[in-house]
Amino acid sequence: MKTQSNLLFSLRVPAQADRLRLIRASTRDALSALGCSPEWTRDMLIAIDEACQNVVRHAYGDNFAGDMVVEARIMGKNLEILLRDFAPCIDPATVKPRDLDDIRPGGLGTHFIQEVTDLCGFLEPPAGGGNLFRMVKSLECPPGDGPGETGVDEQESAHEQDSAPGQDSNGSGDGTFGREGTLGKDGTE
């Protein structure tokens, strides 16, 4: 029997600011086709855009342009977004939201991601290098269910993929949760 993929879309683009609009448009179309509300979609767009923006701004040095891969999957009752880059590994502890009481420009993106997702954080670096950032948000209307289903089911949202985005299926990206939650959303801190 043919296995049905839970992949919604996978997009590999140069980590450039002029690609962010394309990523938002692709995400918007996919979530709309899934039946997500405009408000839910808007929040997810914020999270994905800000995460991609971090890659564009910080992952690669000034003189080297690398790619990033955005993948969206249905994982049970949740939407899972995986964002991979191919830059040197970062220390997740350095990625922190700023204190909102300190009114100043900058540092808001990480806070936005935390606010609108149910889970977020870095996974162990995939085979072949780079960084892998994961975001999970409970779907309002999971496929096959009626409306009103909410709440992240960690069992169902557990990382089940065989390979990291941008890696062929023979890769060993095990996607452990060892680093997830650095942004404080894994429920274990």
């Binding site: 962010l20 938002r24 914020i46 855009d49 909102l100 009114i103 420009p105 808001l108 806070h111 609108v116």
Partner: protein, 109 residues
Amino acid sequence: MKVDIRELGKVTVVAVTGEVDLQTSPKLREALIESLKANTALVVDLGAVDYIDSSGITSLLEALKLAKEKKVSFTLAKVSPGAMRVIQLGRLDKVFTIVDSVDATLGES
């Protein structure tokens, strides 16, 4: 993104249309800073903003800071639901002066 600047009496109105993101926010920042050179009250019309990210919010915060230094008023008007969501996520709805219409600001100077 499109930025339209016009003078309404003693008020400068900067109307923003479209998506404000990492690619387009420098243009907004430049327009706001340029408009503040007139030392008149500044109103930013966000009614036609489809999307704004943290870099766009940063541009608004920088302009607010500059307006305070110049002691001129800085107001956000007709904030679209999408832009308001981002402003609220940053808990900035109490930091910015926000009004429902541009007309509501025209009595100021």
